[in-house]
C-alpha cells in the first residue's frame, strides 16, 4: 500500500486535488481510502464515500495541533486502510501548526498552495512546503500567466528541487501529473513511521494552561517583543 499525506492552508484546494486524483487512480485500478484530519469540523469524508464509494473517515484533532494528531494516529490509519483492502491511503490534513511537519518518512508528502494567496505564501508556511516531496499549485485559472510564473518561482525557491505541478483543480487540469506522481511512489514499509523534520524546540506555558500575557509571567522558551527567544527557568 502507498500513503499520501496532503497538507495546505484552508481553502487551498486539497480536497479538490485529492478528488481529481482519486478519480484517476480508481480509473487506473487502484483502491484509495481517504482520511481527513481537522481541528473541529470536516465533511470531506462524506464526499469521498458518496462520490467514489471508497472507505472514508475523519478525525478531529481538537486540543492537539493537527500535525501532532497526524503523528498520533498515522499507524492506526495505515492499519485501518490495509484492513479495508486499500492500495493507497490518502490523508488530508489542515497542517495548521506551521512549525512542525505534517509529513512522515516513507509516505509521499504533497503541499497544496493556492496561487491566489499572495506572492509571499511559499515563504510563510515553513516545513509544510519545505519538507514536502511535491507541491501542487491550484487556482491558476484565476490569475495571470505572469503571476503564475512569479508564484511558481517563489515555490521553487522555498523548496528547491521538488516537482511543482500547476493546476486548475476544479476542471482537473494538471492533475494527471499529480496522479502519476502518486502512482510512482514506493509502497510504505511496516507500521512504524517517523515524523519528518524536528518537532518545535519547546512547549510554552500557554499550551499547558497559563493565560496571563507578558513573558515575565511565563517559563520555558519565552520571548519579549524586541529580542529573540530565550530560556527562562531554573
Amino acid at each position: 500500500m502507498k500513503a499520501v499525506i496532503c497538507a495546505g492552508p484552508s481553502t487551498a484546494g486539497k480536497t479538490t486535488v485529492l478528488r481529481q486524483a482519486a478519480r484517476r487512480l480508481i480509473k487506473a485500478g487502484m483502491k484509495p481510502a481517504y482520511l481527513k484530519i481537522d481541528v473541529q469540523y470536516a465533511s470531506e469524508d462524506a464526499i469521498f464515500a458518496s462520490e467514489f464509494g471508497i472507505p472514508a473517515k475523519k478525525v478531529f484533532s481538537g486540543e492537539l495541533c493537527p500535525d501532532h494528531c497526524n503523528v498520533m494516529v498515522f499507524s492506526d490509519a495505515v492499519a485501518w486502510a490495509q484492513e479495508c483492502g486499500a492500495s493507497v491511503l490518502m490523508l488530508e490534513t489542515a497542517g495548521l501548526c506551521l512549525r512542525c511537519s505534517p509529513y512522515v518518512e516513507g509516505a509521499l508528502g504533497i503541499a497544496v498552495l493556492e496561487a491566489t494567496a499572495g506572492m509571499n505564501l511559499p515563504m510563510k508556511i515553513g516545513p509544510m512546503l519545505t519538507l514536502a516531496d511535491a507541491a501542487v499549485i491550484t487556482k491558476i485559472d484565476l490569475i495571470s500567466q505572469a503571476e503564475r510564473e512569479v508564484f511558481r518561482a517563489g515555490v521553487m525557491k522555498a523548496a528547491p528541487g521538488i516537482p511543482v505541478f500547476e493546476s486548475n483543480a476544479l476542471y482537473g487540469i494538471g492533475i494527471d501529473a499529480v496522479a502519476a506522481r502518486i502512482t510512482a511512489a514506493p509502497d510504505i514499509q511496516g507500521i512504524d513511521f517517523k515524523m519528518r523534520g524536528s518537532p518545535p524546540v519547546g512547549t510554552c506555558t500557554v499550551c499547558v494552561g497559563r493565560k496571563e500575557t507578558g513573558w515575565q509571567k511565563h517559563f520555558g522558551v519565552v520571548r519579549p517583543l524586541d529580542n529573540g527567544i530565550f530560556y527562562r527557568g531554573e
Binding site: G118, M119, I143, S144, Q145, A146, E147, Y171, I173
Partner: protein
C-alpha cells in the same frame, strides 16, 4: 525552440458533438482571431492552446508545435514556455510593487538584462494607457486598462514569447489600434479572442465557434481588408467622440458626417 507552426486538431463540443473544423494550422507571423457568440467556447479553445492540450481537457483537442507534441518540460518550466496568455480575468492579485514583480518575472524568464527589460516593458505599457502607470505602485493599485496594458507589454517584452494569446483585448479601454500596430512590429503568432470586427478583419483568418465547437475557418480577403479600413475610419469617429466627451465638450447631431472623407461636416471636427 524555433516555432514554425502550431496545429490544432479537433475534439468535441459541449454536448459531445465533433468539431466541424478538424484541423487548423497557424504559421509563424500569422494573426488569428477566434470569434463567436458569448458562451460559444472561445475561451475554452484558447485555453487548450495555452495548456498544449493533448486529449486531456474536456474538449479532447490536441495541440502540435512544429508537428509534434510539446515536451512536458517546456510547458512546465516557465522560462521555456513558448506561450504567453493574457486571460479575460484582468485583475492582478499580486501583493508586490510593479517594479519588483517585473524584476522577478524577468529573471524567471532569464532576460539577459533584467533592468532594461523592465524599463522597456513599462514604456510599452505606457504607450497603450490613457494615464501612465507608476512602476512603484502596487500591482493591485493599477486601473483595469493599465493592468491589461502591462500584461500585454510583459508578455511581449519580458515573456518574449513566440506565441501570444489574448482573450478580449478590446474590453479594457486600451488603445487597441495602437496595440495592434505595436504588436505587429514583433514576428510572433498572435491569437485573439475577439468580439471586435476591426480586429477580426485585420487577422489572416478567423475561427468561428458555436456550441463549444470550431465550426468554420474564414480567411480575410481583399474586400475584407478594405472593409477593415472603413471600420478603422469608423473607429476614428468614435475615438474623436470619446475625446470630446472626455474633455467635457458637448456632442452635436450629425457627427457621423464627420467621417474622414465625408463631403460635409455639420458638427465640430
Amino acid at each position: 525552440m524555433d516555432i514554425e507552426r502550431l496545429k490544432i486538431t479537433g475534439g468535441i463540443g459541449k454536448s459531445g458533438q465533433a468539431d466541424g473544423v478538424f484541423e487548423v494550422e497557424i504559421k509563424m507571423g500569422d494573426v488569428v482571431s477566434i470569434v463567436g457568440p458569448t458562451g460559444s467556447g472561445k475561451t475554452t479553445l484558447i485555453d487548450d492552446i495555452a495548456l498544449f492540450a493533448f486529449d486531456n481537457t474536456p474538449s479532447r483537442r490536441k495541440i502540435f508545435i512544429n508537428g509534434e507534441r510539446l515536451p512536458p518540460e517546456a510547458s512546465g518550466d516557465p522560462a521555456r514556455n513558448p506561450v504567453a496568455f493574457i486571460t479575460q480575468h484582468t485583475n492582478f492579485l499580486s501583493d508586490l510593487p510593479v517594479f519588483e514583480f517585473l524584476k522577478i518575472h524577468a529573471s524567471v524568464r532569464s532576460s539577459a538584462d533584467v533592468l532594461s527589460a523592465v524599463e522597456e516593458t513599462v514604456n510599452f505599457a505606457n504607450q497603450l494607457t490613457g494615464e501612465p502607470l507608476d512602476p512603484h505602485n502596487g500591482m493591485t493599485e493599477l486601473s483595469g486598462g493599465q493592468t491589461r496594458a502591462l500584461l500585454i507589454a510583459d508578455a511581449v517584452v519580458i515573456g518574449n514569447s513566440p506565441i501570444i494569446l489574448l482573450d478580449e483585448i478590446e474590453n479594457a479601454g486600451i488603445d487597441r489600434g495602437r496595440a495592434l500596430e505595436l504588436l505587429k512590429n514583433y514576428k510572433k503568432i498572435f491569437v485573439f479572442v475577439t468580439h471586435d470586427p476591426g480586429i477580426a478583419l485585420m487577422s489572416d483568418f478567423r475561427i468561428v465557434m458555436k456550441n463549444g465547437t470550431m465550426t468554420k475557418l474564414v480567411h480575410s480577403d481583399r474586400a475584407e481588408r478594405a472593409a477593415a479600413e472603413e471600420i478603422r475610419r469608423l473607429d476614428e469617429v468614435v475615438l474623436r467622440l470619446r475625446r470630446l466627451i472626455r474633455d467635457g465638450e458637448k456632442v452635436e447631431a450629425g457627427f457621423l458626417n464627420c467621417l474622414p472623407g465625408a463631403r460635409r461636416c455639420g458638427g465640430r471636427p
